[in-house]
C-alpha cells in the first residue's frame, strides 16, 4: 500500500515536472491577447488555416505567422495596418453576412497602432 502511494506521488511529481517542457507554451507570442481577440472576430474566418479562400490564405495566414521570415512579417504588418485603416479589410461583402466582424474606429486605431509598434520593434530587435 505504502509502495503504491510512493509510486503514485512520484508519478504526479514527474508529470508536474514535464509541464515545464510543454511545447505549446506560447513563448511570448507577438500577438497580445487584445489583438488576437480582434483578429479572431474580424480576420480569422478567411485568414487562418482551414479557411476556404486560397487567395486570402496566401495573402496572410495568421496560423503560420511564426513561419514567415522576418522581413515578410514586417511587410505584412504594414499591409494589415493599411488595409484596416483604409477600410479595405474586412471586405464589405463579408460584413454583409457577418456585421459583428466590423471593426470599430477604436479597434482600427488599436490594430493600426499595434502594427506600427510591432514593426518598429521587429526592426530594432534584429
Amino acid at each position: 500500500m505504502k509502495k503504491q502511494i510512493v509510486v503514485f506521488v512520484a508519478t504526479g511529481v514527474l508529470f508536474l515536472f514535464f509541464q515545464s517542457f510543454s511545447p505549446d507554451a506560447p513563448s511570448e507570442s507577438v500577438f497580445p491577447d487584445e489583438i488576437t481577440t480582434i483578429l479572431k472576430t474580424s480576420c480569422y474566418d478567411c485568414h487562418f488555416t482551414g479557411a476556404s479562400s486560397e487567395k486570402a490564405l496566401k495573402a496572410v495566414n495568421f496560423a503560420q505567422w511564426e513561419e514567415y521570415r522576418l522581413t515578410k512579417q514586417i511587410g505584412l504588418l504594414g499591409d494589415i495596418g493599411k488595409m484596416v485603416e483604409e477600410k479595405k479589410m474586412p471586405p464589405g461583402k463579408y460584413l454583409e453576412n457577418k456585421p459583428e466582424a466590423a471593426l470599430s474606429e477604436a479597434q482600427i486605431k488599436q490594430l493600426a497602432d499595434w502594427t506600427k509598434q510591432e514593426s518598429d520593434k521587429l526592426m530594432q530587435a534584429n
Partner: protein
C-alpha cells in the same frame, strides 16, 4: 451580299481610324534619381539589368514602349496594365517609402517572383528578354531579401 461586306469593312476601318485619335498618356517621365530604386540601391549589374528588363515597363515611370503601343485599342490595353502595375508597386517612387514600406515592397517583390506570378505570362509572350531563368529568379529573390534586411538594419 458583296456590297454589304464592303460597307461593314469600311465601317470597321473608319472606327479603327477614329480610335487612333484617342490615346492614353504615355508613361515616360524623366528618371528621378532621388527616388528610383535601382539608382538608390547598389544592386549588382546583372540583378539591376534583370529588374529593368523584366519589371520596369509596368512598375516604373519609364516604360520602354514597343512600336504597336501607338495603335489603339492596343495602347489602352497596355496602359491599363501599366497603371495597375504602378499602383501595386512603382520602383520610381521607392525613395518616398518609409523603412517599413520599403521592406514591404521588397517582400511583395520577392513573393511575386518566388510564386512565379510575375512577370505576367502575357508580357513574357512578347518580351523574350524578360524571361527569367530559375537561376536568375533565385538570384533576384536572394538579392531582394538581402536588401530588405539591409533596409531593416539601416
Amino acid at each position: 451580299m458583296g456590297r454589304k461586306f464592303k460597307i461593314a469593312g469600311l465601317g470597321v476601318i473608319l472606327v479603327l481610324i477614329l480610335l487612333q485619335f484617342f490615346k492614353p498618356e504615355r508613361n515616360s517621365t524623366p528618371l528621378d534619381r532621388e527616388l528610383d530604386m535601382l539608382t538608390l540601391v547598389s544592386a549588382p549589374e546583372p540583378i539591376a539589368d534583370n529588374i529593368r528588363k523584366a519589371c520596369y515597363d509596368c512598375h516604373s515611370n519609364q516604360t520602354v514602349y514597343p512600336w504597336y503601343s501607338r495603335i489603339s485599342p492596343l495602347s489602352w490595353y497596355l496602359n491599363k496594365h501599366i497603371l495597375k502595375g504602378k499602383e501595386e508597386l512603382n520602383f520610381s517612387n521607392y525613395g518616398q517609402l518609409d523603412k517599413a514600406d520599403k521592406i514591404g515592397a521588397l517582400t511583395d517583390f520577392y513573393d511575386a517572383l518566388d510564386a512565379g506570378t510575375m512577370p505576367l505570362q502575357s508580357y513574357l509572350l512578347i518580351h523574350k528578354e524578360a524571361r527569367l531563368s530559375q537561376e536568375d529568379s533565385d538570384a533576384l529573390c536572394n538579392w531582394t531579401e538581402e536588401e530588405a534586411l539591409k533596409v531593416m538594419r539601416e
